[in-house]
Amino acid sequence: MSLVGARVLRKEDPNLITGNGQYVDDLQPAGCTSMVFVRSTEAHAKIRSIDTAEALALPGVLAVWTSANIAQLANCPGGLPGLDQPLLAKDIVRFVGEGVAVVVATDRYIAADAAELIIVDYEPLPAVASLSAAMAPGAVVLHEVLGGNTVHFQDFENPLNEAFAAAPRTASLHIVNNRCAPSPIEPNVCLADWGRSGLTLWAAFQAPHHLRNTIAQYFGIPQDSTRVVAPDVGGGFGAKINFVPEFFLTALLSKEIGKPVKYTQTRSECLVAMLHGRAQEHDASVAFDNDGRILALKLTVTQDQGAYPNGTGMGLPVLTTAMAAGCYRIPAVAISWRNVVTNTTPVAAYRGAGRPEASFTIERLIDLIADETGVDPVEVRRRNFIPVDAFPYATHSPLAMYDSGNFAGALDELLKHVNYDELKKEQEKRRQDPAAKLLGIGFASWLEIAGFGPPGSLEAFGHLASWESAQVRIQPDGSAIIFTGASPHGQGTVTTYAQIAADELGIDFDRISVKHGDTAVVPQGIGTMGSRAVAVGGEGVKTASGRVYENAKRIAAHLLEASAEDIIIEDEKFFVKGTPARSVPWSEVAWKSFQPLELPGGMEPGALDSTVFQQVPNFSFPSGAYCCVVEIDRETGGVNIVNMYLVDDCGTVINPLLVEGQVHGGVAQGIAQALYEHMLYDPSGVPRTSTFMDYLVPAASDLPGYITGRINTPNPSNTLGAKGVGESGSVGAPPAVVNAVVDALSHLGVKHIDMPVTPIKVWNILEGAK
């Protein structure tokens, strides 16, 4: 029986449900010390002086460092040359939360006490906490080398003035895509031990090899004695791929004081120090005819980079603009983008990274076209979809060569679940009844770019390469170990890879283990991000398993005195097709694979061990159709999601249970962005949502149940046919939710509401209409 496609329970769970998981903060090596930060309370200020004397005098304190202690060191890797963040602020701070000093003490309570005793004297400077403030004439400049606050501007190649002038109709929107804090429940944690035999860094990270390569290079130490371990990691969502000063400081301090140094971020620090996501503003215009057919699209993305731009943050508007046209055939598309610095936390990847922003805008525009033309939103989508026979489909962007999909098929499947006509009638009825809650129905036909794997795709973000490593090794007893460079943090990769390998090798699922997250165990790897673990890493497991299986067949054939082409496997036994009575078990093949005297001519011991660096020719393009039904309380403005229908096309499903979990989790974060979450700053750059009391990560009572469905157009870029599903929900959900709210209020002339759609925004609209 094939395991690929089966609802298999996770190998990961027995440890995690019994408290036997091992997260970085759970490690407590002998002599372990604790590092605590003093972080800037000012958004923009000169540091006049830092008084550390009292802190240093506190018993138990082992070190207190400011930038003066590391003056000769380079700034934190990952930034843009000249605009990068120092490990500790030098003489100026540029955002609230920037590290100013660190204390190491024998325990975390003493370290925290000492941090309180450090006095930083600031001379405040004017701050710019929003894009408009940063771009205003005369605005204070964050980085003098720039001369302004715009880091980069990419203008339109052709602004499509004629297409717009000639079009029967045009419409425009200004859209704010709200800044979010990724907020994995485990914040950033790291533990460094730099002794005589080298540096070991345990880190809550999504790409340990990436960190190893970088940290060795940064310190100028050889990689053979640099080890990075990402043990169990409590969620990442893109926020744990960034290089932050914490990693480098714990390492340096461990070397300095000769003891392991651990840093455990508090939630309040996490909300301002872990890099944020989204934070874009869009100016979008669309030209269309009276039937709702799109003629041209124009999009300018302005990306808030926060105080220190980094490679990932700079890549976000590139991805957004590449996916600007969504799943629609649009004859002319013009894109432009701008990166701007502000006195806020730096911005980088957050689940979807650039693609949720794209799908939100195009899906809002589709509904705007429907509103303007009177054509039903579902019909506007159908009239503009790229048809199934158009793949491969070249878009306006060289990055995005769509290779598969069935956008109309997904919408058809969705509408089997949604009783659309009934809902529309019900909506009309409720509008007439002032006592009834308003009803809104919102659709999103979304598409994203994922499966980061084609050569060059991750190099552009500073990674070594874009392949993923997979080693499949048969043990002498016929059990198998898979070593992967993917670094899961909740995805269930141990289970999915064992499923893939079990099918390819004919070895029982229970006799396959998967090792990951330790550069001493898995020598090379790239990591888990951009929905690539199955589409690239899983394909690697399949390739390597296939190679091992071919050699195993040759050994079995040799033992059975048969020809390898005739050998098949069933129940872990190899035999010649048609004669199962004479067979050789996997365990014997495995054992003999290590014995030169038992091997066929030309084969060397160790033949049942294969390593591949899996490459793929293209990105993948997961897509889907979502529908959200909301009710709005006319008295409070509160939005309640009544139903959330989700049809995904992630290509081949390895494990439906895990795919479902990824969809739910992504949709939950998408709903959270649409209704609840917003990392807010006041005009002076002070964050107003820096604890879980103010930053509203939704609880079970804030979210609906989900109704899921699926279609499958296989990914042509790998033999599994899988596209990836980790980011899907966060791409598809926000436009579905906001389209539903706007639909509910459309009779009042509402065209758009920015996220998060809070009760007060809706209430103001309802009041204004009275």
Binding site: D26, T266, E660, A668, M693, A699, S701
Partner: protein, 163 residues
């Protein structure tokens, strides 16, 4: 200032000199090495630190170790049945994929266990309400709700001691 505190944890007596300000969660994690109880916030919002105090769910980041002298604490390490079988709630989380990264899971399991003691057959709404103080960033909660329902439907689950 240090204080001697004696707490029964997962059926075993423990006794330590602790600073008055030592949080229960740090007592469990750092004094006793019971690292299954996690910390996810500093404002008592996330519930990752939930344990049972004399059978009731509490957030162990809001309790001082010295404050619960002579009390009974059950942590995730003590959640399984006497014969080593997973508890129905633990098994429910596994069966229904109620966890991804696992970081919120010990707290979720302890909070769900307390709920089922009080209300053995909760509705979906009651489950969502009871778990309001426990945040999960991975699952979107539906499968956690299903996990608790599974446990409610299989109160006599045992795996015969197999782990």
């Amino acid at each position: 200032m240090t204080i001697r505190t004696s707490i029964t944890v997962n059926g075993k007596d423990t006794s330590r000199e602790v600073e008055a300000r030592t949080l229960l969660v740090h007592y469990l994690r750092e004094e006793l090495g019971l690292t299954g109880t996690h910390v996810g916030c500093d404002t008592s919002n996330c519930g990752a630190c939930t344990v049972l105090l004399d059978g009731e769910a509490v957030k162990s980041c809001t309790v001082f170790a010295a404050q619960i002298h002579d009390c009974n604490i059950t942590t995730i390490e003590g959640a399984a049945q006497a014969d080593g079988s997973f508890s129905p709630v633990q098994e429910g989380f596994r069966q229904e994929h109620g966890l991804q990264c696992g970081y919120c899971t010990p707290g979720m399991i302890m909070a769900s266990t307390a709920l089922l003691t009080e209300n053995p057959n909760p509705t979906e709404e009651e489950i969502r309400h009871a778990l309001e103080g426990n945040l999960c960033r991975c699952t979107g909660y539906e499968m956690i709700v299903n996990a608790v329902r599974w446990a409610a439907e299989n109160p006599n689950f045992t795996s015969g001691g197999a782990k």
